[in-house]
Symmetry: C2
Subunit: 406 residues, 2 copies
């Protein structure tokens, strides 16, 4: 729990909820104004063909404006990327009107240019004014600029999740990740089809009807995400706690599964319907989507699995984590007035995301299992769960190089 006190995550969550709202409103409003104006100038260019003759003059005007009012902002997106890496000065606010004017002029008179640069620069420059206003740390400032760029990209193309990943990818330089993409992807796709071809099959779960994307259901998923993250945290703490107990009291590791096994036998023969919690638990997992589950299911499975793993039994943690997340989501759903199968689907991904520190992969897993409509909900639930679950995931060798939030 120490890291929780040293780096309290809840105030950070509130801080980022507020900052993200401000960034989103700034970047979104700028993109809207830009897109509407761009429609107009593109329309005019089609209507008044003689405008093209003025392109050289228009270019001169834009260049002169930049020379006159520029403070390094001619570097555009490169200035933003550099500032996230070696922070020096606040991005000049004038970057936003300069690039807006420059772009509209370029389009009105017929240059062949795009629009993402404009939206991204406006998003980054406007957001960075918040860094100055709130006097934030360098790490927070990096995240603010990245989020502003992401918000600009997202709103100019109408692709929010791609925008978010784009911001991360273009700034955080995931060179290693990118170079692993092709080997991992090819191997994964081939392995998948080999497995299917050899006659193995996978269970299908249906998340059912999902709420239309909006602020209210997203907020409710954020609340549930905190619960999912705490469940992931409890799971990791239970595994590490049971392991520590064993190390302290049972020196001979051969005896650990014997003792562990006896406790499970005792549980199985005394508790009614203990069968629910043995093995993978697929029937209960299934029931979380198309039936009923008990309120204590998630907790019993969590403890049983942590105990089995710590005792030395083999297999891994993920399907039991799916069980924990889906049953927890199912029982939380009525409290949050969300459909149980839907929140079971989000919980399945989010508890896994928190326990294994893989919010991105868990989001995509949810999309693959339940369809693309779950994307934004799964991403929110997984990101929150990842943040709340603490630094110590189920893979001890994993090293997190950065704090989980700025």
């Amino acid at each position: 729990m120490v890291d929780h006190f040293k780096h309290p995550i809840f105030p950070k969550l509130i801080k980022w909820a507020a900052l993200s709202c401000l960034i989103g409103v700034l970047a979104g409003a700028a993109s809207a104004a830009f897109l509407l104006a761009l429609d107009a100038v593109t329309h005019w260019r089609g209507q008044y063909r003689w405008l093209i003759w003025l392109l050289p003059v228009a270019g001169l005007l834009v260049a002169w404006m930049y020379r006159r009012y520029d403070a390094g902002s001619d570097a555009g997106i490169n200035l933003l990327i550099n500032e996230t890496r070696t922070p020096a000065n606040t991005i000049p606010l004038r970057m936003a009107p300069l690039v807006l004017f420059g772009t509209l002029t370029s389009h009105l008179f017929g240059a062949s240019v795009g629009r993402e640069g404009t939206a991204v620069q406006m998003g980054g420059a406007l957001s960075d004014q918040l860094s100055k206003l709130f006097k934030v740390s360098n790490h927070t400032r990096t995240l603010i600029i990245t989020a502003g760029m992401a918000a600009g990209f997202a709103s100019v193309f109408g692709t929010p999740i791609a925008g978010a990943i784009w911001g991360i990818e273009v700034v955080a330089l995931t060179g290693m990740a990118a170079s692993a993409l092709l080997p991992c992807l090819l191997s994964a796709v081939i392995a998948h089809f080999v497995t299917l071809g050899l006659g193995a099959h996978h269970m299908h779960y249906a998340a059912g009807a999902m709420p239309a994307l909006g602020a209210m259901p997203l907020l409710l998923v954020v609340v549930a995400g905190v619960a999912f993250g705490l469940a992931a945290r409890a799971f990791c703490m239970a595994i590490h706690g049971f392991s520590a107990l064993y190390k302290r009291w049972v020196a001979n590791s051969l005896l650990r599964p014997v003792i562990g096994g006896m406790v499970i036998v005792l549980f199985a023969v005394t508790v009614n319907s203990a069968d629910r919690y043995l093995g993978l638990g697929l029937p209960v997992l299934q029931a979380a989507f198309s039936g009923q589950v008990a309120p204590q299911d998630f907790l019993v499975k969590l403890v049983m699995t942590a105990w089995s793993i710590a005792s030395g039994f083999k297999g891994g943690e993920v399907t039991p984590l799916f069980f924990v997340g889906a049953t927890l989501g199912h029982v939380l759903a009525p409290l949050l007035q969300l459909p149980p199968p839907f929140l079971a689907a989000v919980g399945l991904a989010a508890v896994f995301a928190g326990a294994s520190n893989t919010p991105l992969a868990s989001t995509i897993l949810a999309i693959e299992l339940f369809g693309f409509d779950i994307a934004a909900y799964a991403a929110c639930g997984c990101a929150i769960s990842y943040l709340v679950s603490g630094r110590r995931g189920i893979y001890a060798a994993q090293r997190l190089l950065y704090p989980k939030l700025g």
Copy 2:
């Protein structure tokens, strides 16, 4: 072109195609055997309830097997992660049978455990034997182990893309990326809805019917991906080349857009239907999905945009890159016997991925624009394009910390 000769990418592509096939077959076959056996033991446990009494003995047996035959493989996934970071010894092959036996025994007698650990360890351990066999470099070995883990995860859950990202995320420690996920995502979603709420709208493109996922269409997309990557490379080289020309011959940067603008005017008044290539070019982009485009469209737009940007006009490169990718995909489609709107969709994402070095974000962009069915094709096209496009993207400040492929 220097880096192209120093680090030739095509032999690497062929190497990784072969390695990925081997890894995929090894991991996929292991997962299939495991899943089928797991079904059987789970069935037996339900049938013979008395098996639970033997759990302590079974645990002892598993622990003894590990003590007797182990070579560090009890560390499981942690051993794999550590080996990718500080390579020391080949993962012992016996990790695979040990964890398989241990898991099946754990499940047969009723421990509450999962299955991903088993599939991931088998995938990693089997794949790493290829590293020994082919005596590869450490960087290649890291990628082989990561791909093996990804393939194991993908095939045990039937989620190939999530498996690929999971391997990357769990090994490559995208701490920075993960800590930026929530700020970027929240800001992006809010910005998106603010933009929509303020009355701006986005054009929709329909990728139409897509080929059923399979080896042949994937291979064709890989071939097209090379073309998309070369287009991205040509675009970046054209921008950098035109910029260098300007720097050398036009010292006063105010004059550059004047000269640039005059060339565009000349082009516009002499070339028939030059209007297609001015501004964003949305009508032609639209036509790539629901009409006809000309074979030269992609090339003219590529040159016009590079020239406009290098001359100092503002706006960015992405929508023109969409234009280049979609029209190139449209005209390549008949040659590869793929539906033109489908390959236009892949090209839209892939040329962008190559030029901006963001294969992951581009894949998600394709999913958001065209639906989830395009996921595997877009991921392949974007990854290939990223690999072929060279080190120098449109954002000069971006630094790639790793070679693009091992």
